[in-house]
């Protein structure tokens, strides 16, 4: 692997525009589950929602190519092919059991924690085109690049500061001042700094539910990840906290790639750029959020977004 410098620009700094536009790669010969839903090509500037990001065609940060996953003999993902655009929010929606969380957990190889799991196909990470699902991939190195926020807030039994400092320490950071700086940046990025700056040494569990989840987001931010995965992050929170976190995620998307699994399709409609609808382990439809919700190409999608089942 090339010895790329680890001092990549902090996602908290707005990036300069890329040189040139990259078309999302289409790989000929890759089987897809349904012809209509094959990973589609870049959206044009005019279609982008008003998020304040500088208008540029989205490049691809990651791509699933015929991704399969099985638990023992039970096949959960049956060949998913879709792109995940850089610095955009991709939402995965679908009814229970469709495999969206499973797909999300493939990114940081959380399945490795449990026995009897098997990957198939590819899940490529750009720019170095690393196949995450390949045997022998260093899961620890991967998890330093891709972080996750879970459904129920799970702060560690430590102080607020130590929770957020967990990531930088894992990355090998030793200087106290550097860690303090990163913690402050992360807490500001998670819109929590003002609320906790006087309570940094207090135990994390004393925060409210919404604050704890924002703490978990700050924790994920602190190690400067390339992708942040959100697994139904607001399903355990009240509406006010939910709104705060949705605003936060939208803000984060300016500098980090985000993949969010949500049970609440209205949430997906509110915040995501692209949406993928999954059903029983297959990718049924993928496209710009507006199009998937207002003009779904597949009847099943239509049925789901209009609430016929779920």
């Amino acid at each position: 692997m090339a010895t790329a410098s680890l001092q990549r620009p902090s996602p908290l700094a707005v990036q300069a525009s890329h040189a040139g536009a990259h078309a999302g790669p289409t790989l000929p010969g890759v089987p897809s589950s349904s012809p209509d839903s094959r990973a589609s090509l870049p959206v044009t500037d005019a279609d982008l929602p008003e998020f304040g990001a500088p208008p540029r065609p989205p490049e691809v940060k990651a791509e699933a190519v015929g991704l399969r996953f099985s638990y023992g003999t039970h096949e959960v993902l049956k060949g998913i092919s879709m792109p995940f655009h850089k610095d955009r929010i991709t939402a995965l929606i679908g009814p229970s059991g469709c495999g969206k969380s499973t797909l999300l957990r493939c990114f940081n190889r959380m399945h490795d924690l449990y026995p009897g799991t098997k990957y198939g196909g590819q899940l490529l990470l750009y720019p170095d085109k690393l196949d995450i699902c390949r045997k022998g991939v260093d899961a620890i190195r991967l998890r330093l690049r891709i972080n996750m926020v879970f459904q129920k807030p799970n702060p560690f039994p430590k102080s607020v500061f130590e929770n957020v400092a967990f990531g930088p320490r894992l990355s090998g950071e030793r200087s106290r001042t550097a860690i303090e700086g990163q913690v402050e940046e992360a807490l500001k990025g998670a819109a929590l700094w003002d609320e906790v700056k006087d309570r940094l040494s207090h135990p994390a569990y004393k925060l409210s539910g919404g604050q704890q989840q924002r703490l978990c987001i700050a924790r994920a931010l602190a190690s400067n990840p390339e992708i942040i995965l959100f697994d139904e992050p607001t399903s355990a929170l009240d509406p006010v906290a939910t709104l705060k976190i949705e605003e936060l995620i939208i803000g984060l998307a300016e500098r980090t790639t985000i993949v969010i699994v949500t049970h609440n399709m209205h949430q997906a409609a509110r915040i995501s750029h692209t949406t993928a609808f999954m059903y029983l382990g297959e990718l049924v439809e993928f496209g710009k959020t507006a199009q998937v919700f207002q003009n779904p190409k597949v009847e099943l999608t239509q049925k789901y977004v209009t609430g016929h089942f779920g």
Binding site: N108, M110, L113, I140, R141, L142, R143, L144, N147, M148, F150, K152, N154, P155, F156, P157, K158, F166, G167, L170, S171, P203, Y205, C216, R219, A220, S223
Partner: protein, 324 residues
């Protein structure tokens, strides 16, 4: 099944009539009364059983207190707490409890140096590293270690452990505090390992996933997340071990010697509070003599030490209460 209330619905709507003296029931009333009587009697019997526990405590504390008071009528508290010689059975008796306390503390310290590290690492290994089948098999086997009678451990300390230690420390006397201390530590490893493992396994997987997802290794997850989360249960195990080591009698009676000796060096022989009590009990002491009362005074000190640590442990648990 017969309904209890036989007032028909029509009666509720018809003009009110005087209510019958008793609601008519179709069951056997006398049987019902007897059932209730049995129920009450049973409740009182069980209650007295539970209340009896308090009576037992009063008995224990009361006995120690009464005899200790008798003891302190002849011996000043100052001499008791500050004197450095303990020879109550000699012609010119000395009643300084410090040598016994020193012996007790030294043996306990040696035991804790063994049981806490070994037990904690074992607990962590069993909880986070061992394959489930291995854990199922090994945990009961470890618990067997605590099933061995302490007098057998005493035999082991005297005749196997001390000679083994003498290979490395030729000057080690046959009676010493190191051998029994190590054996007591070994004996209490299952408390820490088993209770600690229970506490760690109770930590929810969500907490571990959060740590793994950040790129931690298994050791980092175990040490930085699971161990702090389980601290409440683990500290309870530590306190239990401490109490156990403090009150251990037979191992020291067999292998540490029974000579009171004011020293904190585990390589020397010494007597603990418990060994002293055994020594006196083996002899013939007239009831209500000063020697007889001295064992109660010593026992009182032991009980107070145990109580203090149990209370401290209780507060430790509250401090570290489960945060998930």
């Amino acid at each position: 099944m017969d309904p209890i209330d036989h007032t028909p619905a029509s009666a509720l709507m018809s003009p009110p009539r005087p209510a019958p003296a008793r609601t008519p029931l179709k069951r056997n009333r006398s049987g019902d009364g007897r059932r209730k009587l049995v129920d009450r009697v049973a409740q009182w019997v069980l209650f007295s059983a539970a209340a009896f526990c308090i009576v037992i405590t009063v008995g224990v504390v009361g006995t120690l207190l009464v005899e200790s008071i008798g003891f302190f009528r002849h011996v000043s508290l100052v001499e008791f707490l500050t004197g450095t010689e303990w020879t109550p059975l000699f012609d010119n008796p000395k009643f300084g409890i410090m040598p016994l306390i020193a012996g007790t503390v030294t043996v306990t310290a040696v035991a804790l140096c063994v049981s806490i590290p070994v037990g904690t690492i074992s607990a962590m290994w069993l909880s986070e590293y061992a394959p489930p089948k291995a854990r199922e098999a090994l945990k009961p086997m470890l618990e067997m270690l605590s099933a061995v009678p302490t007098v057998v451990f005493g035999y082991f300390a005297l005749l196997t452990v001390t000679p083994f230690l003498q290979k490395f420390m030729p000057d080690l006397p046959g009676f010493n505090m190191l051998g029994p201390g190590i054996v007591i530590g070994l004996m209490t490893v299952p408390y820490v390992a088993s209770l600690g493992e229970d506490a760690m396994r109770a930590v929810p997987m969500a907490l571990r996933e959060g740590a793994y997802a950040m790129g931690a290794t298994r050791l980092q997850v175990a040490w930085r997340v699971v161990f702090p989360a389980a601290l409440s249960g683990i500290s309870a195990a530590y306190v239990l071990t401490f109490s156990r080591a403090l009150g251990e009698t037979m191992v020291v009676a067999v292998a540490a010697g029974m000579q009171p000796n004011l020293t904190f060096d585990p390589r020397e022989p010494a007597a603990t509070i418990t060994a002293y009590i055994v020594q006196v009990s083996l002899g013939d002491l007239p009831h209500a003599s000063i020697g007889y009362q001295s064992i109660f005074a010593a026992g009182m000190v032991l009980l107070l030490m145990t109580l203090v640590f149990n209370i401290a442990g209780h507060f430790l648990r509250k401090r570290f209460r489960e945060v998930y």
